[in-house]
Symmetry: C2
Subunit: 410 residues, 2 copies
């Protein structure tokens, strides 16, 4: 057994696939199963293990993927957003660089123990974080599948291996490419590659940002997912399916995003530039959500009254909770040195922006759907093996996925 970040994991006896379905609000699965779109899932929910779990807050992609692959919350691994304000340099910077990572991944430990690992992400932004410390093994993104080389990615010629063209970054196809790649890697006779013992597959929430549970477009996506999962099972894999976060409509009755433009409000209420609002959802891929999510953190100038400001923020329509730094660090297991003096979470239908002029809504061709808040914390945790003795009333976390898959399902 290996110990990683204080948790113990068995090496896999069977090929083990953990899937993080980006933005997979459990209702997507429920509606698709009800509509007969997911026959594999329908059977798995009966014969396997079906739990509801909670992801980490902020309910964004990077903090949750890193939690899943380290088995611990952001307070331990350090990744609490895509984007942060670095008080040392007084600059707002991306958090994609592995230098921000404070905990080793399960993969790094497994490869050191001779287990072969393959990590396939939809977008490239996650790849370096997830693959950090990987001594050997495969780690690439569908987005840049055409640029893989043996040294950096542990594989080359991915497009030929998978036999699909490079997918567009804003597409359902980007996710499908992840699954098609996994199947290709598991076909042992291809390319002389070592068959992976552990696969981690992480998709993109392009579809979930656009289409609600029960819609035809969502059904198409989940039918595709179901088909690939059934093929992976047919190859004998132990499969755990979870998600980084859920997804909700974030619009007002006029059909437009229901936004609290927090920097504008702060500049008006506290004086221009006195408080800095940071949106950790910010990243280079914002067309489908315009950098609007339900989480913000605020940096106050020294001497300002955080308690009083909290009270005023708490009174804004659409604000669900406002916490002091220490409270937020405790409640959401966040690294206190990487969040501001206040943490703001907006409710299910509301998002937080900075200044109205800094958000380009022109890319939103359908009513906004987004995440980041408490209302998007609930995710599936499904394993294709029956596991006896689990307490469904326990607080399960998406970062229990590897524990279930490696320690209980085989």
């Amino acid at each position: 057994m290996l110990t990683v970040n204080g948790r113990r994991y068995h090496k896999p006896k069977q090929t083990t696939v953990v899937v993080c379905v980006d933005g997979c609000e459990p209702d997507y699965v429920g509606q698709a199963v009800a509509a007969g779109q997911m026959p594999w899932m329908q059977a798995t929910l009966v014969h396997g293990t079906a739990l509801h779990a909670e992801g980490v807050i902020p309910s964004f992609t990077n903090p949750n993927n890193v939690s899943i692959v380290t088995g611990v919350p952001p307070s331990m691994h350090g990744i609490c957003g895509n984007y942060l304000f670095d008080p040392e340099t007084q600059r707002e910077v991306m958090m994609n660089d592995p230098k921000w990572l404070r905990a080793p991944t399960i993969f790094a430990a497994m490869t050191q123990a001779g287990v072969s690992v393959a990590i396939i992400t939809a977008k490239d932004k996650l790849r370096r974080l997830l693959g950090h410390g990987l001594q050997q093994g495969i780690c690439f993104s569908a987005e840049k599948a055409d640029q893989c080389n043996a040294l950096e990615h542990g594989i080359e010629g991915v497009l030929e291996l998978v036999d699909r063209p490079l997918p567009a970054v804003y597409s359902a196809d980007l996710s499908e490419f992840v699954f098609a790649s996994a199947l290709a890697l598991l076909r042992a006779d291809r390319g002389g590659l070592k068959r992976p013992d552990i696969l981690y597959l992480s998709t993109t929430d392009y579809i979930q940002h656009k289409y609600a549970p029960g819609s035809l477009e969502a059904h198409d996506f989940y039918r595709m997912l179901d088909q690939y999962l059934s093929e992976l099972e047919a190859m004998g894999c132990v499969i755990a399916v979870t998600a980084d976060h859920g997804m909700n409509a974030k619009i007002a009755m006029d059909g437009k995003p229901d936004v609290i433009y927090l920097q504008d409000w702060l500049d008006e209420a506290m004086g221009a530039g006195k408080v800095r609002a940071i949106l950790p959802i910010t990243d280079p891929y914002v067309v489908h959500h315009a950098a609007l999510g339900s989480f913000a953190t605020l940096y106050l100038q020294p001497g300002m009254d955080a308690m009083r400001l909290r009270e005023r923020l708490q009174g804004l329509r659409g604000m669900e909770r406002v916490l002091l730094k220490a409270e937020a660090a405790l409640a959401f297991e966040l690294p206190a040195d990487r969040i501001g003096d206040l943490v703001c979470l907006s409710e299910r239908f509301t998002v937080i922006g900075t200044s109205k002029t800094r958000h380009d809504l022109s890319g939103l061709d359908v009513p906004l759907r987004s995440h980041g808040g408490i209302s998007e914390q609930r995710v599936p945790l499904i394993v294709n093996r029956a596991i006896s003795g689990l307490d469904p009333n326990r607080r399960w976390r998406n970062f229990d996925a590897f524990d279930l898959a490696l320690n209980h399902a085989q």
Copy 2:
């Protein structure tokens, strides 16, 4: 000015229509407006007044309709469900009878002051409560529009007047009949009827129980609603639109209702029959929700430890809040003598049942959608007149509708 239940109301200067759109989760409006299905609403949200409001808990039809027409919460008007346990008689009884009503309606006061009133409901179950104390005026349901007589309903020959056949009780047509009746009543030359000064129109949530915001079926309903509202406006009416409650999917990942069968759990945990679980959603019309909602109240036998039971219930997956009687009465403005020792609210995707054998799910031909909890408390509050000086951050209630329509919009 008239004073009703401590609130003051002007008599209408213009014909005033208050509409309670049953189950109108604000997202229905947002998605329909975004899809171009509600041109009148889209314009009204810009030129009129658009607020989000909270209904009362339990987020059911009767408590909320009665709140809207009395202007006060259940603690004052007494109606806290469709169904209650009467500790005096030790029997479970319907709460449809006006004998349970503890406050007069705005309509009763208005008719006494010579204002003509017409109340049109979709289902007949509401009619007697809403029409209680009406000295004169019109009060009928679409469901029993064929059985109206001058003595009881203040009108006869409704089918001829409206020129539509009697609608089916489980249909969108039942709601459309309500609006068609309102238009017919406002055409002054018909039947020598006195043109109403105040109309209260209350629809049924048949569509909302079946179809999600953004679906084609929901769009059809809201397009119909929009067309009637625009016709009412063209007749010069002041219109306020609100709702009794929202609506959410209440299913697990297998597509089936996600139910806490509370009576079964209590019988197992506490001993058979020791605690009685009452579901105030229960009424004779349960085909579309199988009497499954997100609110229950529990009656304990004397000497039982309510605090300890609360703690255990709070630990059940899907339970959002469990309150002692006094806490619930305070938090949700409920009549303490008409609720049990504990009040249980399940979360957004979960409903509470009694015993598994007592719920017939065979009528559910689509994945369950229901209400009753905190997650369905948010509703629209829209007026087709600009009202200046309103604070959008104030806690608005659906039972402010008559105050806005009569005191601020004309």
